[in-house]
Symmetry: C2
Subunit: 348 residues, 2 copies
């Protein structure tokens, strides 16, 4: 079959790879209908983190179940399924706590030894604990809903998780640092799922700010650094915001997040700190901050978010602004890396 592979920094292409196939009784084989490129895929593409030449790529995909192992019970052949970016047994201690991204038998699609989402098919380990089937199957789904189903595999749930970690609830005032697909999804989650009242999105890209407004942002702040912090404080009577979503993960974004948090506030951190392993904790200490970290347990949120998407009340798929055939995956990476695309969809 054909799948995207990492050739070198700045070079991603489609190549012939071994066919995906069932290995364990708990596996499902999924024919990919749509995949996409994640902001975190760009770290290796840009050479910020190392990746082995020839590695498989992608962890976000939806598709049709083509075969199942003998132990699989909750999905069947022909089902239209959504895969979180990590598989999980959904029965271990961490899963029972709703932290499926720390499943003791879990793993990430595209990691060594597994199929990547950016390909024609994927072996899904622990299918029962991982996949969610869309009611009615592929024929029951309107094509317009496809992007939102795809967004559920990662960014929609990751953004929402950031807002959940930040303690956002009905009537909250929240600031979102990061106007990528995750930050925008945090705006949508805070506004629609959690009922935040005031949502300040830090964004200096007009198209992203525009989508942020559609998703529910009440204020767009284009300034950065100290100026951005000052502007947010200006908007909040000098107090800062009680809830901040950190959706970038760099030292600069962390500085902004901490600077704009109100005394006693909470920062929900979903931006993977690839380049920022160290954080100064003196300011969090004197500001009485709570920092809540986590790689989003997408599986926890899937049933609820799927129901919202199918009901037409949740449209996280609006983050996709580029739709390419899988063969042009390299163009997709380049477009996202150059910020010409917020998020790129791939069709095998």
């Amino acid at each position: 079959m054909r799948a995207a592979i990492f050739e070198a920094v700045g070079r991603v292409a489609v190549a012939e790879v071994p066919d995906a196939e069932l290995r364990e009784p708990t596996d499902a084989l999924v024919r990919v209908v749509r995949a996409c490129v994640c902001g975190s895929d760009l770290w290796a593409y840009r050479g910020v983190i190392p990746k082995t030449e020839g590695s498989r790529l992608g962890h976000e995909f939806i598709g049709i179940v083509e075969a199942i192992g003998t132990a699989v019970r909750t999905v069947g052949i022909g089902d239209f399924v959504i895969a979180p970016f990590q598989w999980s047994d959904n029965t271990c201690a961490a899963c029972l706590d709703g932290i499926q991204t720390r499943c003791e038998h879990g793993g990430t699609f595209g990691a060594a030894g597994s199929d990547g989402g950016q390909g024609e098919a994927v072996r899904v380990p622990l299918a029962d604990g991982t996949l969610i089937a869309v009611p009615g199957g592929p024929s029951g789904v309107d094509a317009s809903v496809i992007p939102s189903l795809l967004a559920l595999t990662d960014v929609a749930a990751t953004g929402l998780h950031g807002a959940v970690l930040a303690g956002v609830t009905t009537g909250s005032t929240v600031a979102v640092v990061g106007d990528g697909a995750v930050g925008l999804s945090a705006v949508l989650g805070a506004a629609t799922v959690l009922g935040a009242d005031r949502i300040i999105l830090m964004s200096r890209h007009e198209d992203r700010g525009e989508l942020g407004r559609i998703f529910g942002a009440t204020d767009i702040v284009a300034e950065r650094g100290e100026e951005g912090i000052a502007r947010v404080r200006e908007l909040t009577r000098g107090l800062g915001v009680r809830h901040v979503v950190e959706a970038v993960g760099t030292p600069k974004s962390w500085k902004m997040a901490i600077g704009m948090a109100r005394v006693g506030g909470t920062i929900g951190a979903v931006g993977v700190p690839h380049t920022s392993p160290q954080l100064g904790i003196f300011t969090p200490f004197v500001q009485h901050l709570t920092l809540s970290f986590g790689i989003a347990p997408v599986r926890r949120y899937l049933p609820d978010l799927l129901a919202r998407v199918l009901a037409g009340s949740y449209n996280p798929g609006a983050v996709f602004d580029l739709d390419l055939p899988l063969d042009r995956v390299g163009d997709g990476y380049a477009a996202m890396s150059d910020r010409r695309s917020i998020k790129t969809m791939l069709t095998p």
Copy 2:
């Protein structure tokens, strides 16, 4: 009057200083009955943080009101009062949130321009928002209760705050890193005020471990570092603990705290990070941890803790194991610095 001053690293003594006096209508003048030495006083004593020669010392004291400004309403002359280690107006936005240690008009006793607690008398700014009077006045208080009243000025509330930040509640399993007066007070607060079920105290000093058991610790772990982490995991079916109180503030103690936290757990951080301004956040990220920081707002906890002490159900004063006249303040610092004393009381 006489008060303790900082002479040099390792040298603290009593000297003649200007008399404490009322300056503002909101001030009270308090004659000190008992003061004490705080673990955080030792940072300058040991030369870890700088302090100006001749600086006043101490932020923990209880005493009798000797005079009040014309605007003071809630305490009167002759009242026996407890002072939190910081003064506060108790009316600003932060105070209304129960974070009196970020009061916009607040300050710390012993800081430049203010009287230290380790002296004969103290000018207390914003007396109404700061002091709590002991019902019945000095004559109504049994001498045996004095140490516990003194402990309320800082460590008793700081330890409890650590457990509150760590999310401890009825039935919780909690680990406390640090067996100083704050760590021990965290054990007491978790057990008595919050109803924790299982309390693991990291302690390798026999006397401190003993007091920890009296305060409610169910397990004492003497091992440190990786061995300490392994032992805590052994005690918790390999999972680690949901709630950790970090009551030290050094890189080593932080490493232990993070290492023993259960996936999705919360660390309540009350150990001031004098020597540890940087924290690696990659592990908190993949472990889904929440880090909750804060200099304890003692004033928030005072009414409740005072009632418990007076009812005889709360005895945080057991941390005092050395009682010296103020003139021997230098011996007190030395004893605490050498870990010969958990906490030293001073009588002017």
